[in-house]
Symmetry: C2
Subunit: 207 residues, 2 copies
């Protein structure tokens, strides 16, 4: 069996929606997704890509269809608490460095879950330092320690390396998944991720 990796940034609503359905997939296939923090802004810069909001902002039919796809995904998976974040665009640099710091602190899974929730279900302005600090404290983290660590050269470099390595493997947006060397993109390809992991998917190309 291959490893499944999930390259994510809290700023992506579709990464959040993937995060919400991953537990059910993990239960079905008996394997865990390895979450890899990357900086989506860095991916866009390195690949010359843009967010869907930017790229399709002036194509109303495309925007309406993306919204319909979101509604279908929510209905299919019974997700009733997804909210657009009114503070967007939210710069996620501190949050993503915080994710790497939380890995070092052994609090990664809980950090990811809480930050995603407060970005896309109980949305807050999560690029404001006082808002981040209050959120972490409210949930029992040592906020000072975590945020200090997030600013360490080691953590900064690790997030940058994660991002560069992801782009080198083919990433151009979010959410991106790898099953072994095979890349998949978008929440709607989670079905293909599952099939590929179970060996029922089609292997074509080098991935």
């Amino acid at each position: 069996m291959s490893e499944i990796a999930f390259h994510f940034d809290f700023g992506s609503p579709n990464a959040y929606l993937a995060h919400r359905v991953i537990p059910a997939i993990e239960q079905r296939i008996g394997a865990r997704f390895r979450y890899v923090p990357i900086l989506l802004g860095g991916v866009f810069k390195a690949t010359n890509n843009r967010s869907p909001a930017e790229a399709f902002g002036d194509i109303p039919n495309k925007r309406a269809f993306m919204e319909l796809e979101t509604q279908r995904f929510l209905a299919r998976h019974g997700i009733t608490d997804f909210r657009r974040n009114p503070f967007f665009p939210v710069n996620t640099l501190t949050l993503m460095r915080g994710a790497v710091a939380a890995q070092h602190e052994g609090e990664f899974a809980r950090y990811v879950d809480i930050v995603f929730h407060h970005m896309w279900s109980a949305p807050k302005k999560l690029d404001a330092p006082d808002v981040i600090r209050a959120l972490l404290e409210e949930h029992g983290f040592d906020a000072q320690r975590l945020l200090d660590r997030a600013q360490s050269p080691e953590v900064k470099q690790e997030l940058a390396r994660n991002t560069e390595a992801s782009v080198a493997r083919g990433t151009f947006g979010s959410p991106t998944f790898f099953v072994g060397e095979e890349m998949f993109f978008g929440k709607d390809q989670l079905r293909d991720v599952e099939e590929a992991f179970l060996g029922r998917g089609v292997r074509a190309g080098a991935g």
Copy 2:
């Protein structure tokens, strides 16, 4: 059961790939897709959209992934004779008007099949009038009659109306499918089309 409509333009490789797998879907679900000729250039103009080649031309990782998706689709469906058309971009105006004319002549299905094949499996420069004429004659059409009819005001207006009506329903690119009022986009959503037709899909939004 709802009607399934397939809004297509010969210029779209993904419409061709959909066309190749539709017969197997029709056999599984016991229903026929209604093919609706539209002018993709008209759709792009009306919706402010562009072809993937244009939109993603300068995003190499995105281009590479789209190619990988194509290879996966070909492998999944056992399609071995797909070729990129070296004469692209090919203006499809005459071909699409010809499709409407072929509907009026009662030769639509055969015309669609032959033109798609010679665009994407045995690719030719299908915006050159002499190439179109020779192709139609070779396949036993009354080329003069069909091409004359393709230039009639009635046919020209019908193609324009098809295109406008499609955009009004939400179309922004190709291939686009409608199951009743529910819209689906892209060859990879044919699975959703099939599920929606069989009543297993999720109905969300007005489509």
